[in-house]
Structure formats: C-alpha cells, structure tokens
Symmetry: C2
Subunit: 418 residues, 2 copies
C-alpha cells in the first residue's frame, strides 16, 4: 500500500466533509454523539477482544506494567468513554456564538462569530480512550478529525473507530468525519504533517520526542502539550496548615501527571517552622526530598539538590525544595526553571498574591489552591483535548471552545470605501 497516497486521500476526504460539518445543527451532532456512546457500550465485548490483542503484544514487547495498565480496557473503562461522549452532548455548542459585535461610525455592524477550525489531526500515544474523547470533542465543535494513535493500541483504535464511524452513518453524519490512520509506520505521520492544504491543526499528545518531531516537521500549525514542571511558593505570611495541605496534595495525590508539583519554594522566615512537619508528611508518603543547602540544614536527612533537580519533571514521588529569601527570588526561580504550565503561591498577603498573579508567566497561576486543578474538567471546561503549553491560540487546559476559530461578519446597507 502506498502510505503517501493513503494519507493524502484521508486528508482530502476530511477536508470535504468538514465543509458539511461546519454548518450542521447542534441537534444532529448531539444525536450522533449519543448514538456513538450507545454503540460503544453495546459493543463492549468487541472492543475488549480487540484490546486483548494489544495487551498480548504489549506483554510480548515487555512494556512496563504502568503502560499496560494505561492501555487496558474493561467494561467500566468503556463505560467511562461513552459517558464522556454524553458529557460532551451536555456542553453548549460553541459554534455560532457571537463573541462581540460593534457598530462603526459608517453604520457597518461588525461581529466576531465562532466557527469550526475545519480539519484537526491528533497524534497520540497508548490510551485508547483518547480516540473517543478527542473525536467527540472535535465533532461537537464541528470539525473533522484524523486520528493517529500509537502502534501499541492499534487493534483497540481500529475497532473503536469502526464503531464510531458506523454510528456516524446511522446518524446522518458523514462517515469520514472521523478517520483513523491505521498503519503504524511513522512515514504516515511525516506525510500527514505536510498536508497544510487540507489539515488546519495538529495536536501531538505524548512524550517529548513525539512532540519535538511534530514541531520540527509540521507545515501545519501545532498546539503542543508539553511537560509540566510546576512550583508552589510558600510565603512567610501563609496559613501554614493550608500550605502543608496544598503542597502535600500537589505532590502526592497523583505524582505521575503534568500538573503535580515538582519544586517547593519556601520563604526563609518560616522555613524552620514549616519544613520539619511538612517533610515528615512527605516522608510518610514515601516522597524522596532533594534540598538546597538551607533545606539540608533544616532537614539533614535529605539529599542535596543540584541544578539538574530544578530542571527535572520527576513525575514521581520525588520533590526538590528550595528556601528563598522572598517572593522575588521565588518568581525569579520560576521564571528560570518553570515549564510554564502551572504555579501556585500560598499567602494571606494581598499584595503578594497580586504580584504573583501578575508576574508569573504560566498558563495557570494559583493563589491558595493546588496546581492539581490545572485540568479542563476541573476548570469546568468539560472534557479536554489536552493542555496547551504554547502561547498561540490557546494556553492551558483546552476545552470545546478552543477547537473553534472565529470569523468576522459584517452587515451593511451599501457601504463602500472612500
């Protein structure tokens, strides 16, 4: 099979159906999503059978048990996927929203209206639920989607996509609204990334290597979901009990995700009061601490942190701690080492809260709350496509609205330009 030709055909077909999807009523889209949800549940066994093949291969390839867990589907996980689609149904349709409208001196009325982006390509790894989540969101926002999942989930993805496409057909939705590139050869990705004439946006979700490859090779605009190296700064005027709860939650509740805390910054003035009990809790939870020289003086049992620690997203029960002189040193440390995803300050001082909010340049800046809330669902945006770590188009957790663009509409009564 000619991969280049196949990818080109998929992209062209997506472009064609996107013209139709653009103007579909919310009712038709919602009905299709509900049919998809029901079909997935009805065919749970078929999905699980396909998934078993992927798991068998994964075991053969000796993938880590964590990876195999992420790959595994069971009836409850299939149920979660279809419930996700039902949740998308319940979200308002962003398409057609007029976000602003104004009148010019010559009586032209000018408005900005949300419209679908067009064709969205998703390049992702392992979890088969991404197939359903992203297809549902893209569709609700009126976009055609081209899915390119990882080779380890290929059987699951083929089966799931087939079910979604059959449900589309049943719902008077163009069957090519959802397409899967079902060859695992990487050439397919390179070919896809050239097709800016047909694909409007590419979202890579996965490790650094994947994202870098996409950024490097894409002619299509990219929204990337990069790493998260999150900081929490405990101010000397913090409620120390609250500070301890927030820091503990941000590190321990789910250490393997991008919005977990990796570095704790502690104001010198309260470091001797705060750190011993905080460290005790971390120790009980199995967290390994690496500290700056002052931290080591207060907590002699901790390892020494090196520059490399400040730069590392552990994604694990490891934490680096730095004692800082003041909020300025904290903000400077963040500016130097943060990945720009999420940072928090714990303080009772109004001015310092305001300074932190203004000066920290991250996608999500918290006062007195855990960075773990950096998530589309937690923000109330519904299901999410990913978290953008770039500045263009969208920053931070992406919701339905972020899968649209705008156009201007201009209503006149014969105006011409002088």
């Amino acid at each position: 099979m000619d991969i280049k030709k196949m990818v080109m055909t998929i992209a062209k077909d997506a472009k064609i159906v996107s013209q139709n999807l653009r103007t579909l009523s919310t009712d038709i889209k919602n009905n299709a999503l509900l049919n998809m949800a029901n079909s997935l549940e009805k065919k749970t066994n078929v999905i699980i059978d396909a998934n078993k093949k992927d798991i068998k291969n994964a075991k053969k390839k000796r993938l880590s048990s964590a990876m195999i867990d992420r790959l595994t589907l069971n009836p409850s996980r299939v149920r979660t996927m279809s419930d996700g689609l039902r949740e998308v149904v319940s979200l308002p349709d962003p398409v057609g929203e007029i976000t602003r409208m104004w009148k010019r001196p010559n009586n032209l009325q000018i408005g900005k209206i949300r419209v679908p982006i067009g064709v969205i390509g998703i390049i992702y790894e392992s979890r088969p639920n991404v197939t359903v989540d992203t297809a549902g969101l893209a569709l609700k926002a009126g976009n055609a989607i081209i899915l390119r999942g990882g080779s380890e989930a290929i059987h699951s993805n083929i089966t799931i996509t087939k079910i979604l496409r059959e449900a589309s057909k049943m719902s008077n939705l163009p069957v090519n609204s959802i397409q899967l590139i079902d060859v695992t050869d990487r050439t397919a990705v390179y070919e896809m990334l050239k097709l800016d004439a047909y694909i409007d946006l590419v979202i890579p979700r996965g490790g650094f290597e994947l994202i870098n490859m996409v950024v490097e090779n894409s002619r299509i605009p990219v929204i990337k979901h990069d790493k998260g190296l999150c900081h929490i700064y405990i101010d000397n005027e913090a409620d120390l009990k609250m500070a301890e709860e927030i820091a503990f939650n941000a590190k321990v509740q789910r250490p393997g995700v991008c919005n977990a805390m990796e570095t704790l910054l502690v104001n010198k003035e309260i470091s001797e009061t705060f750190l011993p009990s905080m460290a005790k809790r971390f120790k009980e939870a199995g967290v390994e601490i690496r500290g700056c020289p002052i931290t080591k003086k207060i907590l002699p049992f901790v390892k020494k942190a090196s520059k490399k620690d400040w730069e590392t997203e552990y994604l694990d029960l490891i934490l680096s701690i730095k004692v800082v002189k003041d909020i300025k040193e904290a903000i400077d440390h963040i500016a130097t080492y943060s990945s720009g995803l999420a940072e928090a300050i714990v303080t009772t001082n109004y001015n310092k809260a305001r300074t932190f909010l203004n000066e920290v340049d991250s996608s999500s800046v918290f006062v007195n709350a855990s960075t773990r809330f950096t998530d589309g669902n937690q923000f109330g945006l519904g299901a999410e496509m990913g978290i953008s770590t770039q500045k263009l188009h969208v920053r931070g957790p992406m919701g339905l609205e972020d899968l649209t663009t705008t156009k201007y509409i201009i209503l006149g009564n014969g105006q011409i330009r002088r």
Copy 2:
C-alpha cells in the same frame, strides 16, 4: 561577524526584556510611544537622508517605480508614522483585561486574563513604515519585538530603529524592547526561525515566496498574511444600484491590495439587466474583464475566462466574471477558489444573507458592503499588524488584542484535589 551568534544574542536579549515589559504600566508604555513619535518627527531629516540611500540603491537595482514609491519617505509620510504611534497610545491597553471569570462548585474562582505574547519577530519587505507601526503595536501590547526588514529599506530601517531605541532609553523602557536584525543576509532569517526557545511568534509580511519560506522553516509558531482572492456575489434579489456601487468600489478603488475583488459572481436571473451597465462602468475605469461563456454572450467584447482566472489574484484592473445559477453555485465557487480572506453578498433576501454568512468560510464575510473594508482600521481595531489568513489564534485583520495571549488565574482558599 558571526550571524548565528548575533541573531541568538538578539533573541536572548529580547526574551530578557520581555519579562520586564510584561508588567509595565500602561502609562510608561504610552509615554515611551509618545516620545518615539516626537523623536521621529524631530529627526525627519535624518530619516529622509537615510531613505535617500535606499532609493538610490533601488534605482540602481532598477526596482519598479511602484516599489520605489512604497519605499520612499517624505516629511508627510514620517508624520503619518508618528501619528500612527499616537493613535496606538489612544487605544486601550489589552494587557490585564479579564475576558471571563467564573466560579466552580468548590468555590475556586477561575479567570482568563490577557497577557503579552512575549517576543514577536516580524519579517517584512520594503515599506519602512512597517518598522514603526509594528514596533508600536507590539510594545503597547507588552511585547519585545525583533524586526527583520527587507534589504531594500535597510538604511531607513537602521535609522528609524535607532531613533526608536533612543526614545525608549529616554522613557525608562528597556532599549532592547525594539531590535533590528541589520544584516541583509538571509541566513539571519533561517537562524531566527530556529529560536523557538526565545521567540514566541513570527509574523511574515510579504510575498508568497517569503511566507512559504517562513512556514517551511519555522520552529516558531507563525501567523501568516497570505494573498486575498475575494469574491462578490450579486443575488437576483439585490438592489442593483447598490450592487453596482459595491462591486465598482471593491474592484476599482484600490485594485492593488488584498481586499480588492478579483471575481464577480452574478445570478443568472439578473445577469442581462445588471452586467451591461456594470461592464460599462468598469470599462470606463479601464478594467479588463474576463468572463464565463454566459458573460461573454451578454458582453461579447470581453475575453474568455479560463480556470486560471478563477485562481488568480490579479491585484490589478482585471476582473473575472461568472454567471451562476443560484447562491449555492456561488458559495461552491467561493469554497473552491477563494483564498479565504473576504467575500460579500449583495441581496435584499434575509434567508440568503443568513445562508451566505453561515456557509462562507472566510475571515470576513460581508452583506451589502464592499470587501475593501477588510482592514484593522476600518474594523475599528486601530492600526494593524497584518491580516491573518490562517485559522489558529487569529483570523482576519489583527489588532492590539491579537498581540496578546491569555493565562488562567485561579483564586482559592485552600482547595485541594480529591
């Protein structure tokens, strides 16, 4: 001189000052812009002297008189540049605007706030006024700017940038807020496009070849300003006098710009009434018409239009005309051939106006007005950075607001994730 090193130094310096610019008060920015405007005027003679060198070189290179005209500065044009800066002062500062804020069930308050993008690179050709316009806009929105003008305007650009930087210094603004890459070697552009660690956005303004080179080679997100192939559809239920005025304005008022009309679509039912008088006016204005077979029947003197005509942005007093059966055929023609910049319908029928607005996927869709209004100033956005012809981040005329991104701010009182 090592170009690679020079570009890297410029980019790093821009990144450093962008941290400072991000939190500058509106007053400081406005004061700097006013000082720049005044300095430009005071040094009009110095600018014109430098400009003379560029014009001399341009004549030596036998550039077209149109290009030499675009390149030429005189006291009135310098005045226009400084007035442009004063206009930017009068625009509201987009930085710090909270566009939305909501409360979650757990009492977290989540808001989206506008922040500067950071470092913006502009790669442009000929007109030296772009140097002043884009620097002023970028600065007002809190961004550092790296300018890369064309070799033909290098002396003008060096002198103008020097004046702007001196005025910055005088105004307590970091002098590296505005930097010019003052070597004309193209290597500098290739080096610049690699520096996504320091530069957040690149805007190419110029011909197809320049834009394509940037899209092809950039690791940095790009907002492109592509060509404009604009259509006007005259419906059978149009006010034909209004239709004639709008079509004439869109073709003739300034044919060399991207928002001028290139193809006129005319409903068959009124084609025999409408076309003869319309064509007469075009003929009087020196417009060459190329028509479809039906047009040729009605206007025997016109040339035959080929497929190539439907695909061509003439930027000249040339117009292609196609007679269509109905609005559907008009919309289909637009979907096939439009560059997606701007299209208009002239009609008195409500349903057709609504259909056109909904179904035409262009950055600006007009009812009963000339496409020539597709412009930041005309839309009331103030001066403009260009017109985006892509879908990500911004579409259509770009204003100050489009030179910002957003971040989330989250206000809590101890919330942790369960």
